[in-house]
Symmetry: C2
Subunit: 350 residues, 2 copies
């Protein structure tokens, strides 16, 4: 910390700002770095906590926040000229909040900067199990993990022997859905965008089969090849043409959990989906989810996951970029599929 | 019947055949009339029943069967050169099936002809309550009725005070959904395609509001006007642009029952739906249904409906075309919205 000290308890605080609202694919130049300063002691009248950010999360939904959102939504736009915000793992440096003390480790919403003052500290989760990689708390044990768990178990209601298809299958959420499906005794196939990812799905993540969607000229045919008897459960991460092809291949009484549609976020207008009558023909249930509707399951989820992680029954692939400086590149890389596994920025790894 | 007698128990049997597979909007000339003959006594080795068809049902899904279906579906294509088939109310003329006798009234799948031999008589439902218009058994007490009941109560899980939107609201299914919604204490708005239908929705069917979608240049704005706080439940009968506009106006944790998409059946390719990310933003559940998944509820449904019909608590608007000759025109009329209420063909009314 010494290098950052200015004087009187002030230290330099490097930040990543959104330059302006983004249209189309985001570029690194849509963000810029600045340095402000922060006092290492909170003022007496504060109710918040001061944290040092250790790990920051790059998630596809953040692209939506880079646009100027015209309709009320569950999320706001980022503010041009302000630091990007997102999920992170942080260490408490100073606290005026009774439930947190200096040295505590927390995960929750923070900003893309070295130090953050969090004025709603009740939203932070205090990390108890520190014998697990801390970055996991923004991945397998964070929003992506809970999303995969709730989306698969609560929405898809899987049964042993059912067929499961996961798109963006090596991503932060998809890789867990595939593993949950195998633990349930399902047959699971994933799609991803490179040979490396396809190999990873089959060798490390336990998928029965996987394919590179970029090498398929006919997604319908690819799905027919992998699911000659049809798909019972689709975990939707990409949208657009893949969803259209999946709808053609769903089985009767199939379930689709809609987690996200990453292929659509950079388009001026989302692609049209044409096969929705299959919802009727096959009596399909399709349901969108956001993890924060399932926080009541979080404790149960942690209790289930932690032993399985420790025993190696569930694994997690992370793509860790080093330093806040790598943030813009890491975030932008999500939309070209450059990341392999959950994209994390290690700001100040412990 | 005398006029139809040929000899030896044979009578003339007028039929409506599909001429050839249809593309685009169906025309009357896609069907043709022919006259075959039928024996008024079943042969001794028959296991079926001979019925005289009293009422035949015109339903939007029948358009799908007029196309050459390339994928396996819950329904087959009609066979060119063969009589169209669909739901009907019929009188048993002769029976080799132990559960049915001459004079019984039945509803179920039959053919567009004066007399039909039904070789799977176990699929027929024997009508017990004859003090209700018999045509109701292909409408309010038939497939449309059960569809409205199951779709609204089972899939939409309505709560008192919720807001409900119904498209094709004066149709065979929609008019019932609106009435069920009012009985539940919901606020319900319907869309239809003429002033006459809009008036009917408000004056006779109890909808709180209604609008003519053909007069709205901006469906999104029309829905915002009627649902400033958003839509909790959408009962989907039309698809396409209406679905897109509804998705923009759904509330969090909304439910969409997909009954059909009549606006799409005559298109070479269905329109694309672009707003599906709203399923995620609002955590919407969207589910397709076919009434035959809910036949286990049919007895309960009848017991609930019959008293309410007799007491006038639920009404039903029918559009009854007279004579088998009017069949092609009545069926084709569904797709221009010519019918007002449930389209029925009275072949041999009692």
């Amino acid at each position: 910390m010494a290098a950052n000290v200015i004087d009187g308890g002030q230290v330099r605080n490097k930040q990543v700002l959104l330059k302006d609202f983004v249209t189309g694919f985001p570029k690194e130049s849509d963000m810029l770095f600045t340095t402000s300063s922060v006092n290492m002691k909170l003022p007496e009248d504060s109710n918040g906590v001061l944290v040092k950010n250790l790990y920051l999360s790059c998630d596809p939904y953040m692209r939506i926040r880079m646009s100027k959102l015209l309709r009320p939504s569950y999320i706001d736009s980022f503010q041009p000229g302000s630091p990007i915000n997102g999920m992170g793992v942080s260490e408490v440096i100073d606290s005026k909040y009774q439930n947190l003390s200096k040295g505590d480790l927390v995960c929750g919403r923070t900003r893309w900067e070295e130090y953050s003052v969090i004025n709603s500290p009740e939203s932070l989760f205090k990390i108890q199990h520190k014998d697990i990689p801390l970055s996991y708390y923004i991945g397998i044990l964070g929003m992506p993990g809970l999303t995969a768990y709730a989306g698969f178990h609560e929405i898809c209601a899987p049964k042993k022997g059912e067929t499961v298809f996961v798109s963006a299958a090596s991503g932060a959420v998809g890789q867990l859905v595939g593993q949950f499906a195998k633990l349930m005794g399902c047959y699971v196939v994933g799609s991803a965008g490179s040979k490396e990812k396809v190999d990873l799905l089959k060798s490390k993540l336990g998928f029965d089969e996987a394919f590179n969607y970029k090498e398929e000229t006919d997604l319908d045919a690819a799905l027919k090849r992998h699911f000659p008897g049809g798909i019972d459960i689709y975990f939707e991460n990409v949208g657009g043409k893949m969803l259209d092809a999946v709808l053609l291949n769903m089985r009767i009484h199939g379930r689709i959990a809609v987690c996200g549609m990453i292929s659509q976020y950079n388009l001026e207008e989302p692609q049209g989906v044409h096969s929705l009558m299959n919802l009727v023909y096959k009596r399909i249930r399709m349901e969108g989810l956001l993890s924060f509707d399932y926080y009541h399951l979080y404790t149960k989820f942690l209790e289930m996951m932690i032993p399985q992680i420790k025993e190696g029954k569930i694994v997690y692939v992370e793509d860790i970029a080093q330093g806040l400086e790598s943030g813009p590149s890491a975030l932008v890389g999500l939309f070209s599929g450059r990341n392999v596994g959950k994209q994390v920025i290690a700001v100040a790894p412990q």
